[in-house]
Symmetry: C2
């Protein structure tokens, strides 16, 4: 089976992944003890992670360690930088990187955001599966998950699940 | 029980209610014989319909009769026009209209679009329930259901249901 490129991401009902000042506090409204919304199971299916440089920096600036240091990780950036362990700073073409990775054996490939990476990949139709977790809030404004200027695409619905917190998680895949 | 103001609307996964040229063909991808996604049951719970003028004109221009002629209908417009049966062309303040209607006895009030009306109402926090049906397509660009510049709002999740076509319908209400 070919490796899949999977976008696994959370958004507000109105389609934002962060507030205008890049705040993610809305995610905490669905934090419940013992409920990870399938995340740990999902992470077992991937061995490679692709993240935009801004998102990567944001995680570090929030005081966290990069959570995927055990996986082959590519930080998509315009500024070359030497690798840190498994973490490579990638300045080349995203579609070339994905094509190369998909031709190698391995588990699935996790697209961990941010919006810039998602929209670049969607323009080239490079995402195989989408898992979108909708948090039951309106942010009102902010950083949109989906920008204008992508091609239209019909998807195959896989499954949808709602949780006690009101989070609704839906999986789609490319047809 | 107070009458509820309910937004009942369909959107693409990427949050558009129409293409840039106002085309709604994507809705037909979920048309299935014998499946109306709860619409006829929903319509029984309302006796008043609020529609933006552009959406109203669009329905007529597509060759349809206005589908809510049996209900008290308000077409929100800037151009005064005499009523047609139960259909009134309303040029006043939306929030005054809603406040007046909610103080009258009656069934629920159906917000039938378009985006301009939805965003005006959300700015004043005038929508009590939201039923959003997500069609399993990306339009890529178009007329967004939710524009920037609304206040943030936490919602109460009511229910979510997926259908064989891949449509996922989720109900939320104001807390």
């Amino acid at each position: 089976m070919e490796r899949k490129v999977i976008l696994y991401i959370a958004a507000s009902i109105d389609g934002y992944i962060a507030t205008p000042d890049d705040n993610l506090d809305f995610l905490s409204t669905v934090e419940q003890e013992g409920e990870d919304y399938g995340y740990s199971e999902f992470v077992k299916t991937v061995d490679t992670v692709i993240v935009g440089r801004k998102t990567y920096d944001k995680v570090l600036n929030m005081g966290y360690d990069f959570p995927h240091a055990d996986k082959e990780s590519y930080i998509i950036t315009r500024t070359p930088k030497p690798p840190i362990g498994n973490i490579q700073f990638y300045i080349g073409s995203l579609s070339e990187l994905l094509t190369k990775l998909k031709n190698q054996p391995g588990k699935n490939i996790f697209i961990d955001g941010g919006a810039e990476i998602v929209n670049l990949l969607m323009k080239d139709n490079l995402i195989d599966q989408f898992c979108i977790s909708v948090i039951p809030v309106f942010l009102g404004e902010g950083i949109r998950l989906f920008n204008d200027g992508r091609p239209p695409l019909s998807l195959k619905f896989i499954k949808s699940q709602s949780f006690a917190s009101g989070l609704v998680q839906t999986w789609y895949e490319k047809q």
